[in-house]
């Protein structure tokens, strides 16, 4: 953010700072708590914490607007919360309860709330971005003005389907904002060991549209860049590729530390990024400008914690699905012999 922009930034800060902060905090607290619950064995499976990357989901989805259709990833909690999905059915989903967004059938990697415009979190890298292109296609066909946001990671950037999807979105002029969350690693693989270019955004040129890399540790920068990208998309009728440079503070998945013998990241790397923590930064700016008093920030933090705890209680108290639920929702149109007939 250059000096000349400071007034614009200050305006943004005043107008949206608190709500952006609240969303980032909610993501952080939710995923911290989910990590504890998994570690204690209270919930099952694996979760991919979004902690450290909050500015990306929150900045992009605030900038893209409530109408945007979103393709999420295996690391999807942040996208859902940034979009305003409720912690209760999210947490219940992690518990595999019937009150979860997906009735407990999805789990952490698949939490979806279609009514929020979330097309689905997806455990296959690149898959949801490709599907989001289809949503944009449908919107364009039906003359809606909704855009699609297609999230993917620095690792997923090397999946073939993304190449196909970017080309398709370009030749058919679809309103897709591709967002690469470059958190520097694909599990243990350093981004620059997997990527043949420094900036994923530079690949946009291979499809004839524009791209840009921004500081993903600053929510206002991400927000602004998203707004600007959407403007560009409207004038060009082309997709856009936004890359946010960011960092995940935790292991790739929460059980990682227990599994790996040697850390794959240099010891001091996290602390370098932590110094640019998006939440601390935004909080600091809000305080410095006197837009929000310390007490209100503290209260906000307390609120968010309570909201997460409430979600935990809700999830704990929700009943598990009944065993027959394993055999429902397989097909939308019933046909004799399914799903029962295939057993």
């Amino acid at each position: 953010m250059e000096a000349a922009n400071v007034p614009a930034r200050t305006k943004l800060l005043q107008a949206h700072g608190l709500i952006l902060l609240r969303r980032m905090l909610l993501i952080r607290e939710f995923d911290a708590r989910a990590g504890e619950l998994l570690a204690s064995g209270e919930i099952m499976g694996e979760i991919h914490q979004y902690i450290g990357q909050e500015a990306v989901a929150v900045g992009v989805l605030a900038g893209a607007g409530a109408e945007a259709l979103v393709g999420s990833t295996h690391r999807g909690h942040g996208h859902l919360l940034a979009r305003g999905c409720a912690p209760r059915p999210m947490m219940a989903e992690l518990y595999g309860k019937a009150s979860g967004y997906c009735k407990g059938k999805g789990g952490s990697m698949h939490i979806t709330s279609l009514e929020h415009g979330m097309l689905g979190a997806n455990a296959i890298l690149g898959a949801s971005a490709a599907i989001a292109v289809g949503a944009a296609f449908a919107e364009k066909t039906t003359q809606s003005s909704r855009v699609a946001v297609a999230f993917f990671g620095d690792g997923a950037a090397n999946q073939g389907v993304l190449h196909e999807s970017m080309n398709l979105a370009a030749v058919w002029k679809l309103p897709v904002l591709f967002v690469c969350e470059n958190n520097q690693y694909a599990i243990s693989l350093r981004a620059d060991h997997g990527l043949s270019v420094r900036d994923v955004s530079s690949r946009a040129a291979a499809y004839g549209f524009d791209g840009r890399s921004v500081d993903g540790m600053d929510v206002l920068t991400v927000y602004e860049a998203t707004c600007e990208a959407l403007r560009r998309m409207r004038t060009s009728s082309l997709p856009f590729l936004l890359e946010a440079k960011t960092y995940r503070y935790h292991g790739h998945f929460s059980a990682e530390a227990a599994i790996l013998k040697h850390p794959y990241r240099p010891e001091d790397e996290e602390s370098v990024w932590q110094r640019r923590d998006p939440i601390a930064r935004l909080r600091g700016e809000l305080l410095a400008h006197g837009f929000v008093p310390q007490e209100e920030l503290d209260a906000l933090h307390g609120d968010v914690r309570a909201e997460v705890e409430d979600a935990v209680v809700f999830a704990r108290q929700s009943p598990p699905p009944s065993a027959d639920e394993a055999f429902t929702d397989v097909y939308a149109t019933e046909v004799a012999g399914l799903p029962d007939g295939v057993r």
Partner: protein, 335 residues
């Protein structure tokens, strides 16, 4: 009833469904010109917005169709050759087949994938001659393979109207088959097999062009005094076990004639069901007449050595008739 070609029946089904429902779109490689005549002309009536030629990006445009279906369109995707499910396999079996379930029923994916020119059209070699429907059905996708023009039209219409992904295999060897097609609008329900010939000695369950091979075989078998009953399975999944078992109850003997690879193929599934649920009805071993699990060779004599045919069905059907006959092997893999 008018007699038309199978490919024409598919064309008519698409055109009628597109007229009936504006959300139906067709996309795939070269669908505007339509190499097999199936989609030819659709673009003239429905315009380039509803009939889309795609780049050579099967994974990408299949995913696109999934996303479009989630948002309310009814895309009909064409795969121009039967190798294309391989390059889009994740989108088919791990996305289209599962998203509804994973989301607890929030999502519907009313999409059709037409795998055209499936099987060995003749002389196309190893990479363009597979019939891979068992792989998709294995993963729970509704998967069908009509053998007659009437079923091609009626089943494709049902597929378009179905709210789930449905994979339609268009057997290369059926595309030029002619047959009567009912006039007016009709849809043939998925999941129902049809007895296409009655006979008391042996049940032959067949699918796709093997129905025609079985019919040819049955005439030869008649001369040997073996009256074959032929069941056209029509759908791979759901599989109409009921009709199969009812026939086996009459004949006590089962041959499965299928042009997919034998190993874990369609014939294996039919055999396993009957060996489970219909064991008490059986008087003789179940015989599979399917492809040996080897790639398809180009050379015409080699190709015919491995593909199941009427002659193979005849050999297969003799076996359960001859008690204690040691299983001899035909070169075409029908043991």
């Amino acid at each position: 009833m008018p007699r038309i070609r199978f490919a024409q029946a598919l064309h008519d089904a698409l055109a009628e469904e597109m007229r009936r429902d504006a959300s139906v779109i067709v996309l795939g490689e070269d669908v505007r010109c339509g190499l097999m005549g199936i989609t030819t002309g659709l673009v003239d009536e429905f315009g380039p917005e509803r009939v889309l030629d795609t780049p050579i990006s099967e994974a990408g445009f299949t995913a696109l169709a999934i996303g479009a279906a989630i948002r309310g369109l009814r895309p009909v995707v064409e795969y121009q050759i039967s190798a294309l499910p391989y390059v889009a396999m994740d989108q088919l079996v791990n996305q289209a087949a599962k998203l509804r379930y994973m989301t607890g029923g929030q999502i519907r994916i009313p999409m059709v994938v037409r795998v055209t020119m499936s099987g060995a059209a003749g002389g196309l070699g190893a990479q363009h001659s597979d019939h891979n429907y068992p792989m998709l059905a294995h993963m729970g996708l509704k998967t069908i393979m009509p053998s007659s023009p009437a079923d091609a039209k009626g089943l494709l219409k049902s597929a378009v109207r179905d709210d789930d992904p449905v994979i339609v295999y268009e057997d290369a060897k059926c595309l030029s088959v002619r047959g009567e097609v009912p006039e007016g609008d009709y849809a043939t329900p998925l999941g129902r097999a049809e007895v296409v010939r009655n006979g008391g000695a042996v049940t032959i369950v067949a699918i796709g062009h093997m129905v025609h091979e079985a019919l040819r075989a049955s005439e030869l078998l008649d001369r040997e005094g073996i009256a074959a009953e032929i069941v056209d399975a029509r759908c791979v999944l759901p599989l109409d076990t009921h009709t199969v078992l009812a026939s086996v109850a009459r004949t006590g003997r089962l041959v499965v004639a299928d042009d997919s690879n034998s190993f874990c193929g369609f014939a294996a599934e039919v055999a396993a069901r009957v060996a489970g649920e219909g064991f008490g009805l059986l008087r003789a071993p179940i015989i599979r007449c399917a492809r040996p699990t080897v790639p398809v060779p180009f050379s015409p004599p080699l190709e015919s050595a491995i593909l199941p045919s009427a002659a193979g069905v005849v050999r297969a059907a003799r076996q359960p008739m001859e008690a204690h006959m040691p299983a001899g092997k035909g070169a075409d893999g029908c043991t």
